[in-house]
């Protein structure tokens, strides 16, 4: 073996003998640690980085305002772990971060499959976990430590449909035909299922196109061709993979299809859309999300934009921002940094004030015994001139909705 190879082998052997963790930066003993397990490298790195930005902003706010008062001004420290691009890596990241130090609570992990695995670890290690994932399955497992702040997909479907039908009626363009197009990722599947099975029928709406694909989508022609042929009044659209969603939107423009596109999920309101397809194409497209800057949060958004250079703030950073504040409140109420105590505090919390409550519509945070947020309602966000604004519910909207065919 050459000298270099021998050196490499030796180095590897030494590494194996070393204790595993490199020392984290110095922290005070009584700091409250929050774990953030999100993809920071690989395919979903962008989303994870956005979440991290929101969490960091909240932590900075809290610490600069005196930390957690009930714990003598203890500061919050973020412990991020890279979930990478596989379930194995995500669960490893969770295990790693939750066993290395005492973590009071955690946030993550963007992809619902990652969240399912990570929350299982958190459940076993008895650390409360907050997630913005929409999938119903997250809180159908009888877990005590998982808290889902977003309305679940099936509930979103029902509420969103009501909202859209109402809007359409008010604008004298009742919805008679609808289309469901989207990929087969969990959130989309959970959203479409009740629509397909009963909700549309209950409102007397005919389902004219039902196209689900497995990502990545090679070409959107066949889908948009069907839209062109059937001319639905409303298209529910769930394409979480960025190249797929771009292709469909471009094809809609190319074929000159005029319809009302109702996205399902916050993936449709990220800044990259503006740069890639341009604001004209996006104009008036709406989407259903769990969180978006609401009326009264203008300062918050300005601060975020200044800090990060992002053109606007969206669900991902907003939710992790809210989650950190929520944990802070729980810690205040529990008067402890102990994860079990924080969990108990979250389970019985009833919060109507503070940044967490004002971020999560409708302004009140309570959880049921499954960990689902009671009364959570989805928002409808609309692209207007290259920026997405909350339009529904009207009392929380930052812009009035624009409706045209």
């Amino acid at each position: 073996m050459s000298l270099l190879a021998r050196a490499v082998t030796l180095a590897l052997a030494l590494l194996l003998a070393l204790p595993v963790a490199g020392p984290p930066p110095a922290v005070a003993v009584d700091d409250v640690k929050i774990a953030l397990v999100v993809p920071l490298s690989g395919r979903w790195a962008r989303q994870g980085q956005l979440k991290k930005m929101g969490a960091e902003m909240a932590i900075e706010e809290i610490n600069s305002q005196g930390g957690i008062k009930a714990l003598g001004g203890a500061k919050i420290v973020l412990r991020e772990a890279d979930a990478g691009d596989s379930v194995e890596k995500a669960v490893s990241a969770a295990q790693r971060v939750l066993t290395r130090e005492k973590i009071s609570a955690g946030i993550g992990s963007w992809l619902s499959s990652f969240t399912l695995g990570v929350t299982e670890v958190a459940e076993r290690l008895q650390v409360p976990w907050l997630t913005l994932s929409y999938a119903d399955s997250i809180t159908e497992r009888g877990f005590k430590y998982t808290f889902q702040t977003s309305p679940v997909s099936s509930a979103q479907a029902e509420q969103a449909l009501d909202l859209v039908v109402e809007l359409a009626k008010r604008n004298n363009q009742p919805i008679r035909k609808a289309a469901l197009i989207g990929d087969n990722t969990a959130a989309t599947v959970f959203f479409f299922k009740p629509l397909r099975e009963k909700l549309l029928q209950a409102k007397g709406i005919e389902l004219v196109v039902d196209e689900v694909w497995t990502p990545p989508l090679p070409d959107a022609t066949s889908i948009v061709q069907k839209l062109r042929a059937t001319q639905p009044d409303l298209v529910f659209y769930g394409a979480t993979n960025f190249p797929d969603s771009i292709q469909v939107l471009q094809k809609v423009k190319e074929f000159g299809v005029k319809t009302h596109i109702q996205g399902v999920g916050a993936w449709l309101v990220t800044p990259e859309y503006v740069k890639t397809v341009g604001k004209e194409l996006l104009d008036n497209i709406q989407t259903v999300v769990a969180a978006h800057p609401l009326k009264g949060q203008e300062e918050l958004v300005k601060k975020f934009v200044q800090r990060t250079g992002e053109p606007f703030m969206t669900q991902d950073p907003l939710c992790s921002y809210a989650h950190v504040w929520l944990i802070k409140e729980a810690a205040e109420q529990a008067k402890s940094a102990d994860p079990k105590a924080i969990r108990d505090a979250l389970a019985k919390i009833d919060l109507t004030t503070g940044p967490a409550a004002s971020t999560l519509s409708p302004g009140r945070i309570r959880f049921d015994e499954r960990g689902r947020r009671i009364g959570a309602v989805p928002l409808i966000v609309q692209w207007q001139n290259g920026e997405p604004f909350t339009v529904v519910p009207v009392n929380l909207a930052t812009r009035p909705v624009v409706w045209h065919k």
Binding site: M1, S2, L4, A5, V8, L12, L15, L16, V20, A21, G22, L40, S41, G42, A45, E80, A81, D82, G84, S86, V87, E88, K89, V91, S92, A93, Q95, R96, V97, T99, R100, S112, S113, L116, G117, E120, V121, E123, R124, L125, A135, S137, R141, G142, F143, N184, T185, A186, V189, T214
Partner: protein, 598 residues
């Protein structure tokens, strides 16, 4: 033998180290790393059975891994069947899948096979998404966690993973030392030669494939429970699974059970250490460093770490000094042709009217002759006469368009090469077909297995065959160090080890010096004296004239002449075929066969 029990001891030692680590490690996360090492080593060993030993590189082994995971988890989630039993179901489905996938796919060779196998897990992935199983969370069974393979104490996962690793090690070792193992290695080295030595390559590959599917399925089932907690098609059928398997096996070294262990023991901790130390703080850097590590290892040890280290240790090869040549015995020197006159011998093989064409070129045209017991039959003819094609037909590699071949009264037309070999017809090749990474003895043993011998008996009869040709002292060398003569002798010994009644030797004298020719001729006579009938192809007549009892002459695919050497060499048609019409016209029929040098 000492080296064999040494291997078992080494296996026991590895398992013992694994046990010690399971108990020594305290942190939960470290247990996870240990479990991952054991699981990926198991998956690597499973892959190694079909891709390392048999040489059929599979890019689709994750199909079985995923089947094991999904079957087990779905049975538990939907029917509350304990995964300890569900795993068996997973294995069953995986083995069945191996049969269904292998049957049409083994016809493909090399990377065609590899990519065809990849298609299956890709299909399964899409189908699982379609069926609505994109995220199957394993329901947490708080009441009976052990029954459902859910341990709160991570050490139990280590032990479980170590258990399946140990079982797979034992399986691998048993295969390595069994007849199947030799057959697989022969298939890997040279499938056609293996077939000619009586190895039923389809059957061997299929058995290996089935044996490799089972541990992969078990690994998948345990992986789902110990590592994932939620099964997604991407996580168990995805490309990352085969990438991890390949990494572990190829970095460690393929074709040996130590490879996956070394590969897993090094690469997985490296990956996790990178994630832990730098990955969280500078995301992406761990991918860069890991990739660089992979490149570095491959550039300095392309055959894998195990083989590299091994060849360094064994670097003092047995490049032997010139060996003593076996001398003919006095009896052999004075031997004359056997007492039984040629005409009175019984017919072993009857070739009738064989015709074969390739793309319009008629290679053989209505060739008929017979081979009689105890004779040495020479088949001669100028280049392009169709001699090797004839042997390929006789031996089963080619199918004739017309004609039949009868062996001991029964038709063998259209039978597979390994079947023909087992019926008693052996073969050597014009371009030598060795098993280059097997020792000389192991090369010969492949032939000895043709008659169902156990590895021990095969070793004994192989040594005897090597003894017969005078190569006994070369038994433990790899063929790359041998001379042409020694290689031909080895091929002869290998052929004789299949215990044939007839051997077809294709130009055994080519490339040999005069001494070498003499020695080969001696060996051939020895073989005949031992009861083996010989048919030899040569295209130089003078070499065969003294060796053969009878000659058959082919020219341009037709049988030109048949008879005693003396007669045949004076037949004008034969002379014309070799030397041309003008030569014949000028010189007339020669008096001596030696004059017939084209």
């Amino acid at each position: 033998m000492a080296s064999r029990s040494r291997e078992w001891l080494a296996i026991a030692a590895v398992v013992a180290v694994g046990l010690v680590l399971s108990f020594a490690v305290t942190e939960r996360y470290h247990h996870r790393v240990l479990t991952l090492v054991f699981l990926w080593a198991t998956m690597g060993l499973a892959w190694n059975i079909i891709s390392g030993y048999a040489g059929q590189i599979s890019f689709g082994h994750q199909a079985f891994f995923g089947i094991g995971a999904y079957v087990t988890v779905l049975l538990a989630a939907k029917l509350k069947i304990t995964p300890w039993l569900g795993m068996l179901g997973g294995v069953g489905v995986a083995v069945l899948a191996a049969v269904l996938i292998g049957t049409p796919t083994f016809r493909l060779a090399g990377i065609y096979f590899g990519l065809a196998t990849l298609a299956y897990p890709l299909i399964f992935r899409i189908v699982m998404d379609y069926l609505g199983y994109q995220e199957v969370a394993i329901p947490m069974m708080r009441e009976q966690p052990g029954l459902f393979m859910q341990f709160s104490e991570p050490r139990y996962f280590d032990l479980l993973a170590l258990g399946i690793l140990a079982a797979t090690l034992v399986l691998s070792r048993i295969i390595e030392t069994s007849r199947l193992g030799y057959s697989l290695r022969a298939i890997k080295e040279n499938e056609q030669a293996a077939e000619a030595m009586g190895v039923d390559s389809f059957r061997c590959k299929m058995i290996a494939y089935m044996l490799s599917a089972a541990p992969a399925a078990v690994a998948g089932a345990v992986y789902a429970h110990a590592i994932l907690f939620v099964v997604t098609p991407e996580a168990v059928f995805g490309v990352l699974v085969i990438v991890q398997t390949l990494t572990v096996c190829l970095v460690g070294g393929a074709g040996t059970l130590w490879g996956p262990i070394i590969g897993a023991a090094i690469m997985i901790p490296v990956s996790e250490i990178l994630d832990t130390t730098v990955g969280d703080r500078l995301p992406g850097i761990q991918g860069v460093v890991y990739g660089a590590a992979l490149m570095a290892v491959m550039m300095y040890a392309p055959e894998g770490l195990y083989w590299r280290v091994r060849s360094m240790i064994l670097a003092r090869t047995r490049r032997s000094v010139g060996a003593a040549r076996p001398a003919p015995t006095a009896a052999e020197v004075h031997a004359t042709t056997p007492a039984v006159p040629a005409g009175a011998r019984s017919v072993l093989m009857d070739v009738r009217g064989i015709s074969k064409s390739f793309l319009g070129l008629q290679a053989l045209s209505d060739v008929s002759f017979d081979v009689r017991e105890g004779e040495i039959l020479g088949i001669i003819g100028p280049n392009g006469a169709g001699k090797t094609t004839l042997f390929n037909v006789l031996n089963g590699f080619l199918l004739a368009e017309h004609g039949e071949v009868h062996w001991l009264g029964k038709s063998i037309t259209g039978l597979q090469p390994h079947v023909i070999c087992r019926l008693g017809i052996g073969r050597t090749f014009q371009v030598m077909r060795l098993f280059p990474h097997l020792t000389v003895l192991e090369n010969v043993m492949v032939g000895a297995f043709a008659h169902g011998a156990s590895p021990d008996r095969a070793r004994v009869s192989s040594l005897a065959a090597l003894d017969l040709v005078g190569l006994a002292d070369r038994a433990d060398v790899v063929p790359t160090g041998l001379t042409t003569l020694e290689l031909r002798l080895m091929e002869l010994a290998r052929c004789l080890a299949t215990r044939p009644r007839l051997i077809l030797l294709d130009e055994p004298l080519a490339g040999l010096s005069t001494d070498g020719v003499e020695l080969m001729a001696l060996m051939i006579r020895r073989a005949r004296a031992a009861g083996v009938t010989v048919a030899i192809i040569e295209h130089t007549i003078h070499a065969l004239v003294r060796l053969a009892d009878r000659l058959v002459v082919l020219d341009q695919g037709r049988r030109l002449a048949e008879g005693l050497p003396g007669e045949v060499t004076r037949t004008p048609a034969v002379i014309e075929a070799y030397l041309g019409t003008r030569w014949l016209a000028r010189h007339g029929a020669p008096q001596h066969a030696e004059d017939l040098r084209p």
